[in-house]
């Protein structure tokens, strides 16, 4: 279990306890986090679950592989150094307290 917080650009927040093994795109849609769509179900084809990871947490969210790195080029809001596709971040106790910033497309 990990408590995850999504912070929106308008300052609002959503927090939820996420079961180990779920990915954070699934967790976001289950908890009604806006702007996280996950149309492809987490198979790295749509880039609609883009988040910015709080910098102090970034390294702990795991490696960005080549496919994710490429797909991050297609996000609506341009990627930054701390960008991830949240379908590739898997909940685990080490991520308890993780903060994700949700970009808002124009």
């Amino acid at each position: 279990m990990a408590n995850i917080t999504w912070k929106m650009e308008d300052g609002s927040e959503i927090s939820a306890d996420v079961k180990d093994g779920l990915n954070l795109m699934e967790a976001a849609t289950a908890n009604n986090v806006p702007h996280i769509e996950g149309e492809c179900g987490g198979c790295l084809s749509c880039a609609t679950c883009h988040v910015f990871v709080d910098p102090e947490w970034f390294a702990r969210t795991g490696e960005v592989d080549d496919i994710e790195d490429t797909m991050l080029e297609m996000t609506d809001v341009e990627r930054e150094d701390n960008s991830r596709l949240s379908c590739q971040i898997i909940a685990s106790p080490e991520l308890d307290g993780l903060v994700l910033h949700v970009p808002e497309p124009e």
């Binding site: 849609t29 084809s45 297609m74």
Partner: protein, 406 residues
């Protein structure tokens, strides 16, 4: 109380419509009616991870079951709608109940074509693949050592063949056309997947017609080919395409043409009725087309929510699609309809390449096999209306990112 917006059919299009409606803060009440006992779920993993047993059922659900009530959306699953009465703005359920609607949204999807019963299509051991129930019936039969015959070399048949090989079944796949994927892809893409499946031990037979399935003791045991040859099988998967579910719409007098005809607002010939996803057809580049894809269902559902909220939008989304087979990730962007030329861009390894489709000088679509850069940057290139010369993209030295951003 005002009649709700009623959504008939609980699939991807319905879930996307509801998600956008809720996100836009639209207060109009919603009622979702679905024939299956489940809330809207993702269908693509059915022929992949769900069939492999790697994904539990709840993780297929696009939103958790409780989510709908939490958003104030009324749901009735396990409920079939038998008729629409557009004059009364009502739908009639199979139990005879009349339900008023303010606007109606048809997300009735498509069904898998089956073989006629005269050909053995109704025999025990013969399956089609479209729903959770289909997989739940079929999965226990997917056991190592058994013989699977797949009829039809489209994406569903190929994905199921891949899963079957991973589970160590013996797999024969027959395709009546000259090549697998003939209807949807260029010969170069067919060649790639033929080689992939042959390399994983699938016996793949193209230009092969079947006359009938054979039964032993009331259960399918094989197929007789036109050549007279018999292929033994313990189970048969029929993957010969899908047909739109348009019976309700036809009976209600809505215009249909290989799907419920909709305009760029996803509105049918009755302005109070909209349609989205596999069940509808629409005009694109002067042709009436129908797409069976998550992208199309999701984007059309999303669009209808925006239309109802008064946004000035129209449907013009760029199609995209994917398929996973063994360790190959196929990603497709664009529509290759009407292409007259293809070029292949080699990838970094033997198992990666992309096929680029052109009509004249215009870039239409890309099939990217283990080649996400071609997909991601190709999508940007198509979206921006650029048409790089075929020779340019076929040259592996060309930097696609520079082409996309330039």
């Amino acid at each position: 109380m005002a009649a709700p917006v009623v959504i008939v059919g609980a699939g991807q299009a319905a879930a996307s419509f509801i998600s956008r409606h809720v996100a836009l803060g639209n207060a109009e009440p919603l009622l979702l009616i679905g024939e299956e006992p489940h809330p809207p779920y993702q269908r693509p993993p059915l022929s992949k991870k769900y069939l492999l047993g790697e994904l539990e059922r709840e993780r297929l659900f696009i939103r958790p079951l409780d989510w709908y009530a939490e958003q104030g959306v009324e749901t009735r699953f396990d409920t079939r709608v038998d008729a629409i009465r557009p004059g009364d703005r009502q739908v009639i359920t199979s139990t005879g109940e009349a339900i008023d609607y303010d606007r109606l949204i048809l997300c009735t999807g498509s069904h898998a074509r089956s073989l006629p019963a005269e050909m053995g299509g109704a025999l025990p051991g013969v399956f089609t693949l479209r729903s959770i129930a289909d997989i739940d019936r079929m999965a226990p039969e997917f056991q190592g050592g058994r013989k699977l015959l797949v009829i039809g070399g489209g994406y569903i048949g190929l994905e199921a063949a891949a899963v079957a090989r991973q589970l160590r079944l013996e797999v024969t796949l027959i395709e009546m056309a000259d090549r697998i994927l003939q209807r949807v892809a260029a010969a170069e893409t067919s060649d790639y997947f033929r080689k992939l499946h042959a390399g994983h031990g699938v016996e793949l037979r193209e230009a092969t017609r079947m006359c009938r399935l054979l039964a032993d003791d009331g259960r399918v045991c094989g197929a007789e080919l036109e050549s007279g040859e018999i292929i033994d099988a313990d189970l048969v998967l029929v993957g010969i395409g899908g047909s739109p579910n348009i019976e309700l719409a036809l009976a209600a007098g809505l215009d249909c043409d290989n799907g419920i005809r909709v305009n760029t607002l996803c509105q049918t010939s009755d302005p109070g009725i909209y349609a989205a996803g596999d069940c509808c057809s629409f005009s694109r580049d002067g042709q009436q087309i129908r797409l069976e894809s998550v992208q199309n269902a999701a984007d059309q559902g999303d669009l209808i929510a925006r239309v109802l909220a008064g946004e000035d939008v129209s449907y013009n989304a760029l199609p995209w699609f994917w398929s996973d087979q063994y360790d190959c990730k196929l990603q497709i962007v664009g529509l290759n309809l009407g292409h007259d030329r293809t070029v292949v861009r080699p990838g970094a390894s033997e198992s990666s390449r992309s096929v680029w489709y052109y009509r004249g000088d215009r870039l239409l679509a890309i099939d990217a096999m283990n080649e996400p850069k071609s997909y991601a940057f190709g999508r940007k290139i198509i979206e921006s209306g650029k048409n790089p010369a075929p020779e340019t993209v076929a040259d592996p030295a060309t930097d696609l990112k520079a082409l996309a951003m330039g």
